[in-house]
Symmetry: D2
């Protein structure tokens, strides 16, 4: 391992392996090592442009950095003897470029603004990935809905059959929820993609730096103004974790239903076998493991948010080492979420629905009793609450027919429904599942025409959001590409 140049001046003493491993952030730093090189380059170009570093020293360092950018950072820089990858890379530069040049990169900055910049860069990309995955999921749900605008299924409340609805209506409920998750992440993006560079330790620096230039080079949308805030705040990370927790809470609901609907208890769907496991002992088993693990990931992501909040709670200004412990939780949650959303889309696309069974169940359990009550209101002018009570009492008697309805009506209103003109035929018609769904043709309702409108609208919103992600993606990549071009030019 190269000498730890940060530590050598001020501190002495040999650390135990346990202590090194405890203090080091190297595991999590693998996530941001590529970003670190980019941040180094941006900083260096700024130092040069501001004439803080000479052209010659700049070229020597830049060559080394471009090599690392091209070939990757060697394992030696990840030695846990370094406190972090930033120290590791600086040692590497000094070892390759000599201290006379390599020792000049860290002018006008600190690891505090450096690491914050790396985290933000990496998180920016993760968010774009997450937004892309969410777009795919929304597209999947829209496509599925399109095929099932007229597929009738039982709608549930309290896990009891409630009223018939359409499968499209159900799928679009999730689509709408996930589009709000997209909005939240998209708004978080604008707070994440800001540059803390130039903040140095927290008070900026005595060198004549330019804070805007490296921000522009790296494709940030601007700077975090206050330099203390720039290094001491992690609310941007908490926000992303909070948003992911909320997203995963919705994912876990969908997965709960996949588990339930693929159970023989419901038998509504079957999932492709690649997403399932069998048992080591029970040869018949086909278990919905992917959905189960996905459901469990909600717990993992919430735990990450909890950890991150607790870690920052009550920590005085400005930077404190506690922050280092936040990062692994962030990267773990980001990774869990994006893979969950990606696989969820894939799994959904393989689902086969037993539409016959779903429709059959849609009419069970007096699920259209509301429609009968409504019919009594509309046809005979009964108050809704009276009609509701009559039908409810008939159900309690065990069945809905003229006998039970008449009895119930007589008990509650002193008059039978037969006397009002109700017939078996009318009851039967009022109780039809198709009729029930068809009548619910309101904005956002389950009837086929209503569903078609929403699908069109969702498609447009999808297209709009797709373009937004694309343009952000391009902006970020273009900036990095331009910076590297400029760097290569200067390094010649």
């Amino acid at each position: 391992m190269h000498e730890d140049v940060v530590r050598r001046g001020r501190l002495s003493g040999e650390r135990s392996k346990d202590l090194k491993s405890f203090l080091s952030s190297m595991d999590a730093d693998r996530t941001i090592v590529n970003e670190d090189i980019l941040v180094d380059i941006a900083h260096l170009l700024m130092l040069h442009r501001q004439e803080i570093i000479s052209h010659e020293h700049m070229r020597v360092i830049l060559k080394s950095l471009l090599l690392l950018q091209k070939n990757g950072v060697p394992d030696s820089a990840f030695d846990e003897g370094f406190e972090d990858i930033h120290a590791g890379i600086e040692a590497l530069l000094i070892s390759s470029a000599g201290e006379e040049s390599g020792g000049r990169l860290h002018m006008g900055r600190s690891r505090n603004d450096e690491v914050a910049a790396c985290i933000r860069l990496r998180l920016r990309d993760s968010l774009l990935g997450q937004m892309n995955a969410l777009l795919q999921l929304r597209k999947t749900l829209i496509d599925m809905a399109e095929k099932h605008c007229e597929t009738i299924m039982p709608g549930f409340t309290h896990l009891q059959y409630a009223q018939p609805t359409t499968l499209a209506h159900y799928l679009l409920a999730y689509e709408e929820a996930f589009s709000r998750d997209f909005e939240r992440l998209s708004e978080a993006y604008s707070r994440v993609n800001r540059s803390p560079l130039g903040a140095a330790a927290f008070a900026s620096t005595g060198y004549r730096i330019d804070r805007d230039y490296p921000a522009k080079l790296l494709g940030f949308d601007g700077i975090v103004t206050n330099t203390m805030d720039a290094v001491a705040s992690r609310d941007f990370a908490l926000e992303v974790l909070g948003d992911l927790t909320i997203l995963m809470a919705t994912v876990s609901r969908l997965c709960e239903e996949i588990v339930l609907w693929s159970s023989p208890l419901a038998g509504f769907i079957s999932i492709d076998e690649v997403f399932c496991s069998t048992s080591s002992i029970m040869p018949q088993k086909k278990n919905p493991d992917t959905a189960e693990i996905m459901r469990a990931k909600t717990g993992s992501v919430l735990g990450a948010f909890t950890s991150a909040v607790v870690i920052t709670k009550g920590i005085p200004m400005s930077y404190n080492r506690d922050f280092q412990e936040l990062n692994p939780h962030l990267w773990r949650a980001v990774k869990d979420s994006v893979i969950s959303i990606t696989l969820l889309s894939e799994m959904l696309r393989t689902i086969r629905f037993d539409t016959k069974k779903m429709k059959g169940e849609a009419g069970r359990g007096f699920s259209t009793a509301t429609d009968l009550a409504d019919f009594l209101v509309l046809e005979y002018g009964l108050p809704f609450r009276t009609a509701h009570s009559i039908v409810g009492r008939a159900v309690r008697k065990g069945t809905i027919d003229m006998k039970s309805l008449d009895e119930a009506a007589a008990e509650l209103t002193k008059q039978t429904l037969t006397a009002r003109g109700l017939t078996d035929e009318k009851v039967k018609k009022a109780l039809s599942a198709e009729g029930s769904v068809g009548a619910r043709d309101h904005p956002g309702g389950p009837a086929a025409p209503a569903v078609h409108v929403v699908i069109r609208h969702a498609g447009k919103k999808f297209e709009h959001d797709r373009k937004l992600v694309e343009s952000r993606n391009h902006a970020a990549r273009d900036a990095i590409r331009s910076m590297l071009d400029e760097a290569r030019r200067l390094a010649e």
Copy 2:
């Protein structure tokens, strides 16, 4: 207690007091009872406009509702024998207006959309209150910063003296953080202020309702489209709770510092006595209790978020009674946050800073050693890392003077600094706290000119945000006022 008209038809059996209390949401429903009356009125006006209810029945119900709106809902409606306030109010209406009229209000809706509408209405107002409180807090910080642009204080990292900064710089760090909290809540507002009405149980309804009209009457910015999503989603509540958690995590940091700075260990500030307590046994004590409790509230609000996520985790579509348990957590967190922010502003305004002590400490602990290292770089062309090591080693020797510097330089570079031309005087000048701060005149930095720029910018942003809250406030109140005017007209 009036008869429970919702339950009477379908279910029988007498509940124990414990069971009633367990199932009832009455405690939390006190928070939304006023909103419930407004939602009832909006629904009723829509039923009338769509000719689903006759003018006469409408007038009878409307009169009762307007009376409740004016005089408040009597305690009898909060009997825990009712499952919730919605059942309590319906029973009240039927008791006062007769079932023939009162039994007609619940056409075309369900408690599921009704309660979601009430929660959203109430939360909308809470958010506006919270944003207002945040505005006051930002204004307080800006005003304080304005007075302390040149007040030098020690800046900390790791709770060690790091570099001198200005009090204004420190205060503006919080101001910038809180303005992001404002942004988040403001964005959440646009997802909260949507109407779920017309969703009924989840599948909308067979009546010819209009979903837009009640949304407009109540001042909502539009509807939640999918009707299943409208009753089954609580991500809007989770989002607010997440945002409040993040906000409180920052509050707890500021409070930690208030506790610390008012401790004799620091002695930087003193707080007005009304915010302090003494001890029942130690007569000399003046404790910063308000800041301590505020710091603790972070735990309470995070707990509320945790509870809310867990409650919704894995719950299948659509409405489940579990959701009821979420509400008390929401209201508790909202109340805790708004009062914390309000009192925090008030407390901050009373703080007296011991600026002499703060400035005195700003130069202690070699806090300008970075400036000396930078001076060596700029004056003698040393690589930064070399200069950093020399100064660090001098500190390890116990003091920074020509002797220790020369020794360190000789050890690390084989050459003394004296030989390069360094003198005691130059060292002293490089180490001056005022010089250090003055040189840090970058955007967002601590130097007075930089701070002035930020204060102007923050003031403009404050003004912009103040107007936004004001216009939302007006829009919401105007809508309600117009609806009540219309209702009074129709009730005549």
Copy 3:
């Protein structure tokens, strides 16, 4: 409101209503007000016995205290102008007994040890109540198991039918889990029931107090030795909250199954109507609300634990006002848990099982395929993994019969099972649900004889635990009764 005698000397200034409410713990203090009187009496008796207070002053205060103990503390003591109920009661005493006597009670103590003692006393009783409720729940499960030793039902893994089991086996799984919850709470009890009295602010006191005497008077099992630890630790509260969270996590699993089994998807059980609700719109609905809210309470209790940990995290020694914010979470969680467990027992006792349906389902879904694989192993000496693969492949072909088995065996082993002597009849016998369950006669297994053994054992453990709770209950009550007798004697 009486004068705040604690505050008057040191601090001035008038507090706003908001601030009073923010700082006051009065709401939560209602939970411990009775305990506070008992703690006052114990402290006073000690002061008298140690001759720190004169007989006359003691009598005057004691009379007032006994009146409060008998008649309850009046509302005036709960004025939010007092910081807490301890200040409220002291003001009351001084107002009624005069400062010359009433001002002497607080010698040799502080609110810090006083409030810790109150919390521990109250929590002790809550724990006994919780343990009692758990005992009832275990008894309920044992009684139910006794009736269902031979009721065959489908056992699940991954919510798929896995293997047949007995209802008794299933119920006893929960009984065993809940008996571990009992153990944990019982062990926590021994850490809760310790006296912090005599610790005063944290450093004990200069008066010649006796720490053991009030501990004995109040029925504590001893003292918390270190006086700083005694006022500054809340791990006893965290432990109870942790234990309750774990308990509720198990409760939520049972409730999940109650919701699921009472759904038409399963149709295994029906719950008494008092535990259910209907819908305000869907007259047919009978929803398992009690189980849903109970399931949701897990989130509330976990949230309380989270809050409590965060509140104490990183708080330096010794007492800090943050602790006050912990108490409402503690009392809420304790109340939620005990009522949940109590109602759960009651609800379980009303469940009617559709044993015919359960048995019918037990044989579905190839749930005895393992038994067939085992039969192939035992009868024809096939390696288990080979047999497992053969049966698994037969299932994949859609059915288990000689044809599919032979095909699968030929593919995997180059030999049909017919060739080995397998017949349709043998297959059918191997697949019988009764045979499967009957063969599982191992300790803790589902076969009737195994279940009977466990029921006997569980009954004995129940009896043992019942006696433990009873004896602790008696010890606590006897101590308080003796102390009050002694107090009345001295007050004469």
Copy 4:
């Protein structure tokens, strides 16, 4: 990669890399791979003893297992194509021993009981390691206390100087708290160290197994009786996580004080440099990073508990794949805690106290004002509350001297203290820090004699606990050693 023999029969389809990685538990399984071999051996010996497997097949498998036990499991078994390490090892055995033998190991069990056994074995060892680390920490604190029985320091409440105390008193407060953490973990141990083996999938098995024998072989203290509970419960893991969270909450308090006391704000201690870092930019910095990260670990461990509870919440019986996601959180928390406690002991041992500064501060801030109030009570018979108010008001006047005391007394009691006989000298004596501490000679108090008693007691308790851990350690190791001896004998 070897064929996945578990999957091959029932399921088809090729999985993507992402999906494999999502479903696989291989990362976390590295933690339990050694335990898995031991569990395999125990199961095999039982199968042989019960004559379920022939001597010959047993020997073939056993030889392979012993080789793996000796040489470690090769990387090929960790291929993510296997769902878990259990499938990986079985494939390895079949590949090396042939399916005819290797395919027979999995008779009479399932991965469900297998993995539960592995987790419990591993956790047992982790708990012993944790208890050992806690013992070292307690010993460290006792040793430090012994040296500082008479070191006077300021005691804090609300981070204000409260009363003088001794450093030993302070250190022993933590010792007592940590000894309760030890108790909790020790009690958890007895629930962890139970064998689930023989539960198979959850319903036990049709083979004539013996559940007690493998439990004894592996050194378990007995079996988890109910076989459904045995595979479906994870409360033992939740309990450990809860206990560790509580432990870390106390650790974070101590670390908070280490950070604070080593800050120039306090200047009470200095930590050895190996536990500190410097800054990449500020050459003077010596930051208490180890304590900061340790403090942050509380957040990580609480997050792990949260995740684990959420993952198990509402999951129906019996085994569900969600449980797999719990394990990484468990292992992470266990590792974080044990290393934190170990390093904490090491760091504490290097601390140098500035006892002169601590003593100097102990008398500041009117910290003995209580003693003066007590003196007024004892000497002049004033009611405590009156004396408290007089001294409090004197402090508010800015200083405690005869003038301010007389004024305050006159205002509150119409009589000066001079008139009662108080003199400057008496005041000075009453305010002495040594006197204050010396008078506090109660059980658990700060006076040297009291502290000595506690140190002796703590030493005895330490010795007792040390022996308990030792004997458990021996029992566990002896069992495994005996089993391996027996296995080697049978394999010959």
